[in-house]
Structure formats: structure tokens, C-alpha cells
């Protein structure tokens, strides 16, 4: 394998993992707070559409990202309402919201844009200019050739780590997920912290969705998320909810996915369908390898109610 192949593979890896890093980071809050949130996929598609739509009309990508974040928070709030206030089964709530998100995004797109001969497009995020850094052989094209969304995701890795490890809020998130009744007894508003966490998760997912339409591509289509939300849910688990590991795990998945594409292109004699399954098989294998060390938060998936013993 020559140098170009590896450069292409690695830079593709960083690119393809960006939305997964973001969505999985959001799930650090959500899952650590004890909520199993299967709505990520639906939230991402909503973020993808809303981000694109607002960027299209305002001609401003940042506004697009912001609005995608807000839309993500709205879906997060919906999920929080169902899983915390209604105390609904979280599997059903998440599945319902993914259904809702998929339907709603598709519907809204048609209502807003109608049927066009050519799809509406925006000028998407351009690669960040790192000057001389970009010219360093190997390192330049691999690390310094991407648009802002990737570096934004990297920054959020640090932010998430900081929030979870260094702030009172992060500690409270962990407490309400691990042992909500203890948190309650300490005067922490379990519902409030759980709401905040799920909404934060929604924010990240919304942003993740928008990176697909504004960073990765420059338009919106209905099937743009294509399971990336579910991958994020898997990634955060085998990263054991540690932001830096989330980064690595997402990169691993991105790498497997990019590798299968590159292998197909150069004509490896394996049926394309089997190569396409590679990232998912790898995810299962990694999960099997690390699961022994994965301890879900004590209150994971269980609605908290003060009066239940």
C-alpha cells in the first residue's frame, strides 16, 4: 500500500467520522444520565434538514448550525418529556421519535422546497486554511485539509471531557444516571439534570446532522443519515462514555467504512456487499472485545420516581 492510499484513507476517516463523533459525544451526557436514547437517528435527520434550510435562506452556515442545534434540542426535549415525565419505555420513545424525525424532515423539505428540477444547494463549509501546516507532507493532507466541522468536533471532545470531568454539572449527570435516588437525596433535581442531559444530547445530534448537509455535502436528501445515528449509539457504549475514547471509536468505525470503500475501488476480489458489511462486523467484534469492561450506569433505562422504592 502506497503513501497516497494511506493519506486518502486517513483523511477520509476523519471526514466520515465527524458526524459520528458529534452524535456519540452527545450520547455521553444522555446515557451517563441513565437514558437510553434511540432517537439519535431521527434527531440527526431533523438537524440535517433544519440546518440546511436555515443556511439556505439566510445564506449563513453558522446560522444553519445554530438552528440545527436548536431543532436537535427540541427533539431532545421531546425525548426527555417521554422518558422522564411520562416515564415511557425508552426503547419505544426513541423508536417513535426516529419515526417522527424521518417523516417530519421528509415532509418539511417537500413543503418548503417543493419539487425542483435540481436540488437546492448551499455553499458548504470550505476547508480551513492552515497555511504552512497544510503543506507538511502526510500530516498536512491528513489533518489539516478538512472543513471546520471536523475541528469543531475535536473541540467538542475537549468540551465534553471538561464538562463531564471538571464541572459540578458533569458530576451530577453521572450521579443521576448511576443512582438517582442518592442524587435526589442530595438535593439534586434528578428530572432537571436528566432533561438537560437529554436535551444536550439532542443538541449534539442536531449539530451532527447539520454537518452532513452543510459540511459533508451541500444539500439535503431524505436518506442522508443512513444509520449513522445508530452507529453513534454503539460507538459511545464501546467507548465507555469517555469523550476521548469516543473520538477513537468513531475514528475506528470511520476508518473501517473508508477502508471498505477504498478496497472496493481498487478492485479487491471480495463481493461489494460483504465489504459494505465490514464496519458493522467490526463494531460487533470490538463490542465483544470490550463489553466485559462496560458497566452501564446503575439507573440506565429506568425511569426515576421518588415514591417507588
Amino acid at each position: 500500500m502506497n503513501n497516497d492510499f494511506i493519506i486518502s484513507l486517513l483523511s477520509g476517516t476523519l471526514r466520515t467520522s465527524t458526524p459520528i463523533i458529534l452524535a456519540a459525544l452527545g450520547q455521553v451526557y444522555t446515557q451517563k444520565a441513565g437514558i437510553m436514547d434511540l432517537s439519535v437517528e431521527g434527531t440527526m435527520i431533523i438537524g440535517c434538514l433544519v440546518g440546511f434550510m436555515t443556511a439556505f435562506f439566510t445564506q449563513n452556515l453558522i446560522v444553519g448550525m445554530l438552528c440545527a442545534g436548536i431543532a436537535g434540542m427540541a427533539i431532545g426535549a421531546f425525548m426527555a418529556y417521554l422518558s422522564i415525565t411520562v416515564k415511557a419505555n425508552q426503547v419505544i420513545a426513541g423508536t417513535a421519535l426516529t419515526m417522527f424525525g424521518t417523516g417530519f424532515a421528509s415532509y418539511l423539505y417537500r413543503v418548503v422546497f417543493g419539487v425542483r428540477k435540481l436540488p437546492p444547494v448551499v455553499q458548504n463549509f470550505a476547508p480551513v486554511n492552515f497555511g504552512k501546516l497544510g503543506e507538511i507532507p502526510f500530516v498536512g493532507p491528513v489533518f489539516f485539509s478538512h472543513n471546520g466541522t471536523f475541528y469543531f468536533a475535536l473541540i467538542l471532545v475537549l468540551v465534553t471531557w471538561f464538562v463531564m470531568e471538571k464541572t459540578v454539572f458533569g458530576l451530577q449527570v453521572k450521579a443521576v444516571g448511576e443512582y438517582p435516588s442518592a442524587a435526589d437525596a442530595k438535593g439534586i433535581k434528578v428530572g432537571l439534570i436528566r432533561y438537560s442531559s437529554v436535551i444536550l444530547g439532542g443538541l449534539y445530534s442536531g449539530l451532527a446532522g447539520a454537518t452532513m448537509s452543510l459540511g459533508y455535502m451541500n444539500t439535503y436528501t431524505d436518506h442522508m443519515i443512513a444509520g449513522r445515528g445508530f452507529i453513534a449509539i454503539a460507538v459511545v457504549v464501546f467507548a465507555r462514555w469517555l469523550p476521548v475514547r469516543v473520538l477513537l471509536a468513531a475514528l475506528l468505525f470511520g476508518c473501517a467504512n473508508t477502508l471498505q470503500m477504498r478496497l472496493q475501488s481498487i478492485g479487491v476480489a471480495v463481493p461489494s456487499q460483504l465489504l459494505q458489511a465490514l464496519p458493522y462486523i467490526l463494531t460487533v467484534l470490538v463490542l465483544l472485545g470490550v463489553s466485559k469492561y462496560v458497566n452501564f450506569p446503575g439507573g440506565f433505562g429506568i425511569p426515576y420516581s421518588r415514591n417507588e422504592k
Partner: protein
């Protein structure tokens, strides 16, 4: 400072149609220790939850230091008004350190960032002031129960609690730990704190409380000042409404061959550390062998190995000559081994199921309640009805969810399930922990009955009083080893020394 730290007037709290607190009046004087007594389910914990704010009363009035506290207040508000509570089940996050647990309770508005150093310093200072001996960096999960308890107390003190609610704090402590604990309580009282102490051990109340309130069926059954004239019997009569028999007929009727023989048993604990080392002993037919020892010296692992929940790493054990080492729980159950687990709520019962279903958890495969494929509803009803009568389970019907039963009645459900088959070996782990004296008496009598029927009983207990009351022989465990066997006549002192690992009697078993 006002004369009364807490005044609760006319408090009522309903769960569904049942009144857990029924027009209760309760007064705590400043700077005193107030005992709160009552049978299981009398409403003690509920009353304290209402005071602290974890649950809200349906009617009544609460004054704290003379000022009214809204009925619908939150724990946060309770803490702000100086109330601290140490719960029956500790409210500590086991995956976090002591310091982190403290940080959790602090106000975030002014300090969004964690600053563990400040907190650590204060923990060390407070811990020194009241000789609590707490390492701020220890993980809660690695602390003994006694230590966790002290963490809880410290946590209340940290938040400047002037009223401390302690819900059955001694239930999980060894007698030595309990005595140390009382020293701390006295120091706190001296420092001007007002303390509410819930306990089922009347001796303790008499020893340390200034006043006592007794609850019965959600109502106040009486209040008394503790002075030299108060006797245990008075209190127990107030609680149960009759005299409680604490003199069992322990005379041995049968005593025969070895039933359970344990040889050189070794095992590891969850963390992979050695928990049992070369343990050998035998329990005879018609005998109660008690295992005494400070919690965490291998008793739990021993029980688990004997009932098949844990694999031994070496050694073996035989029941009636049959080797059961490494057999599955199902196989061991089939050999008539019964087990009363220490943690009845998480390991002994399906809390959200009915009494009926909990009663047949073990026997649902037997012909008594099922056919070739199906469970027989009618047969189950009869069996459950009979058992609940025989074991005097107090409930609103067999459909009652077990989680709504009092601790004593929960334990009775387990006893009914485990003893109804006439066990050949009964392994009982702290079976009376947290039970009121009435229930305690009942459970001890049941164990004696098993013994008298020719069964072998292995009683693991941290309660020396219990051990000396009903055991025929006492094996002391320390660090996963046997320190030797003691006869009850030899006295408590030697057992205490052996429990502390000072004296090894191994040689003259």
C-alpha cells in the same frame, strides 16, 4: 436557639388507601437524641422522609426551630433549614469517591466548576473534629458499611445540619462499630446537634436516647423520657402490644451425625481477591452453627459457594455425604438446601410481583402447583393461602405487591418460601437485620424449629446477641479463615477477640 428543633403536628401521609402516618405528632428538643421506635411498617421512615422532604405529607404542619416548613418542601429546602438525613439504604453513589459524593450536594450556581481541594480540606477537618476517620479519596464501593455510614453523617455535618435523622444506623454495624458510633453521637450532641435515631435495638435506645417516641400502625403509641426506670420490656410492650419472648427454648433435642461437611474451601470475591482460605467445618444434624465475624470477612462468599452462586477455587463440601461442590443452584436446591439471603429486597424477592408469585418462585416446577406444562392457578392459590396463614404474613391480600410490605412481612414471605419444604440445610445470612423485635423473635423461632425438626442451620450473623441466643456452636471467621469454634458458654469476650483476629482457637476445635 428555640427549645424545639423540630415540631411535627398532625402529620398524615397516605399510600393509596393505606395511611403510613396517621395524624402523628412528633417533637424533637434541641440538643437531644430522640429515639424513634416501632414495628416494621409502623411508618418511621415515612415520617422522617416527610420531615426531610423526600416525601410530602398529605396534611399536618412542620416547624423547624420554630419556623414553619412548607409541607411540600424538597430535600434541598430541608437541607437549607438544617436537616440532614442518613437513610436506611445509603444514598451514596458507589462508583464515585467520597469527595465527589460531597461535591454532588453543593450548590452549583456560584461554583459551576468542581473544586475538590476545598471540599477535601473541609472533609478532613470535620472528620478530625468528630473522629470519623474518613479518607476523602476512597471510592465508596470500596468502603465497609460502617465507613459508608460515617460518610453519610459527615455529609450531613458538612452541610451544617443541626438536625440529624439516622434511620436504623446500627442495623448494619457490628457491636463494636455500634459502640464507636455512639461515641460519635454523643460528641455530636455535645456540639449542640439534635438527633433522631431510629432503631430496632431497644438496648441501644435505652443506652443513648434522651427521649423516645413509639409508632404503631402509623399512629403514635406513646412518648417517654428515658431514665433509669425505663426497661426494655416497657418499650417492647408499647411497640408490639404484648410481651416479647426473648428466652427461647434452646435445649438441644436432637444432635446427630455431621450433615454438612466443608473441607478446605477456598474462593475469590468479585474483585478476584481471595475471600475464603482453607475453610473447614461441619454442621451437625439438629444444630445451629453460627458464623460470627465482622462483615466482609468471607461470610458472604461462603454462603454463595454453599448455595451454588459462586464457584469455589479449591476444597469441597458434602451434604449428607453427597458431594455438592461446584453444583448448580438448581441441583443444590434439589438436595433440600434453603437460603435466606442477606439482601432480601434485591436478592430474595421480586419486589414488583405479588405475594402469591413470590411464594412459588422456587416450587413452581413441583407437582403441587403445576402440571406437565402449565401452572395451576387454583393450586397456586391454595398453596399461597396456606403459606401466608402458616407464616402469618400480614397483607391486604395475596395480590399485594411485595414492595408494599413492611420489612418483617417481606422476610416472612422469604421464610415461607424457603422453609415450607422442610430443608435439610438452611443457610441464613443476617436473617433478622432490620426487623422489629416481634419479627426478630419470629424468625429466630423459625430457625429453631428447623433445627428441632432435624435440619442443620448455618446462621451467618453480625448480631452477637442473636448468635448467643440461639446458636449451638459458634465459628468465628476472620480474613476468610476460621479462627476456631466457640461454645456459647465460653462467653462473648473471646468471640470478640477472635473476630478482631487477635486470638486463634483453630487448634482445639
Amino acid at each position: 436557639m428555640s427549645e424545639y428543633a423540630v415540631q411535627m403536628m398532625n402529620i398524615s401521609k397516605y399510600f393509596g388507601s393505606q395511611a403510613a402516618n396517621d395524624h402523628v405528632d412528633f417533637t424533637l428538643r434541641s440538643g437531644t437524641i430522640h429515639g424513634l421506635l416501632g414495628e416494621n411498617g409502623a411508618g418511621k421512615t415515612t415520617l422522617m422522609n416527610v420531615l426531610f422532604g423526600l416525601q410530602n405529607a398529605d396534611e399536618g404542619k412542620i416547624l423547624v426551630f420554630g419556623e414553619e416548613l412548607a409541607l411540600e418542601h424538597s430535600p434541598k429546602e430541608g437541607m437549607r433549614r438544617g436537616i440532614g438525613m442518613v437513610h436506611q439504604h445509603f444514598k451514596l453513589v458507589r462508583t464515585m469517591t467520597v469527595t465527589e459524593n460531597f461535591l454532588l450536594g453543593l450548590k452549583i450556581s456560584r461554583y459551576p466548576l468542581l473544586n475538590p481541594r476545598v471540599v477535601k480540606k473541609r472533609i478532613l477537618q470535620l472528620s478530625g473534629d468528630f473522629t470519623l476517620n474518613i479518607d476523602p479519596d476512597a471510592k465508596i464501593g470500596n468502603l465497609s458499611v460502617g465507613e459508608q455510614q460515617r460518610v453519610e453523617i459527615l455529609s450531613a455535618l458538612y452541610r451544617d445540619a443541626s438536625v440529624l435523622i439516622l434511620d436504623e444506623p446500627t442495623a448494619v454495624l457490628t457491636p463494636e462499630e455500634a459502640q464507636e458510633f455512639f461515641v460519635i453521637l454523643k460528641a455530636l450532641r455535645k456540639a449542640g446537634k439534635s438527633i433522631i435515631l431510629i432503631s430496632h435495638h431497644l438496648d441501644e435506645i435505652i443506652q443513648i436516647a434522651d427521649e423516645v417516641t413509639v409508632l404503631k400502625n402509623g399512629k403514635v403509641a406513646g412518648t417517654a423520657k428515658i431514665d433509669a426506670s425505663v426497661r426494655k420490656e416497657d418499650l417492647s410492650r408499647m411497640m408490639v402490644g404484648r410481651d416479647v419472648l426473648f428466652d427461647f427454648d434452646t435445649q438441644r433435642k436432637l444432635c446427630g451425625e455431621d450433615k454438612l461437611v466443608v473441607q478446605n474451601l477456598c474462593a475469590k470475591n468479585e474483585r478476584g481477591l481471595v475471600a475464603l482460605k482453607d475453610l473447614s467445618f461441619a454442621v451437625r444434624r439438629g444444630e445451629i452453627l453460627a458464623i460470627a465475624g465482622v462483615d466482609g470477612n468471607g461470610q458472604k462468599e461462603l454462603c454463595e459457594v454453599l448455595v451454588g452462586l459462586r464457584k469455589s477455587t479449591q476444597g469441597s463440601f458434602q451434604l449428607e455425604g453427597k458431594d455438592l461442590t461446584g453444583k448448580s443452584p438448581a441441583c443444590i436446591i434439589a438436595n433440600h438446601v434453603s437460603y435466606i439471603p442477606e439482601d432480601r429486597q434485591t436478592a430474595g424477592l421480586v419486589m414488583s410481583w405479588s405475594i402469591r408469585d413470590n411464594l412459588i418462585l422456587k416450587m413452581f416446577r413441583s407437582k403441587a402447583v403445576s402440571g406437565a406444562l402449565f401452572l395451576h392457578k387454583k393450586k397456586i392459590d391454595t398453596v399461597a393461602e396456606d403459606l401466608s396463614k402458616a407464616y402469618a404474613i400480614k397483607s391486604q391480600g395475596l395480590d399485594t405487591e411485595v414492595k408494599n410490605l413492611s420489612g418483617g412481612n417481606q422476610q416472612k414471605v422469604i421464610l415461607a418460601r424457603e422453609l415450607s419444604q422442610g430443608p435439610s440445610l438452611l443457610v441464613a445470612s443476617n436473617p433478622t437485620r432490620g426487623l422489629d423485635i416481634g419479627a426478630m423473635e419470629y424468625v429466630r423461632q423459625q430457625m429453631l424449629d428447623v433445627r428441632n425438626a432435624g435440619g442443620a442451620v448455618l446462621l451467618v450473623s453480625a448480631d452477637l446477641e442473636e448468635i448467643f441466643q440461639i446458636a449451638d456452636r459458634i465459628l468465628v471467621m476472620y480474613g476468610g479463615r476460621s479462627m476456631g469454634i466457640v461454645m456459647p458458654q465460653e462467653g462473648v469476650e473471646i468471640v470478640g477477640q477472635m473476630m478482631a483476629g487477635i486470638c486463634n482457637k483453630e487448634l482445639y476445635v
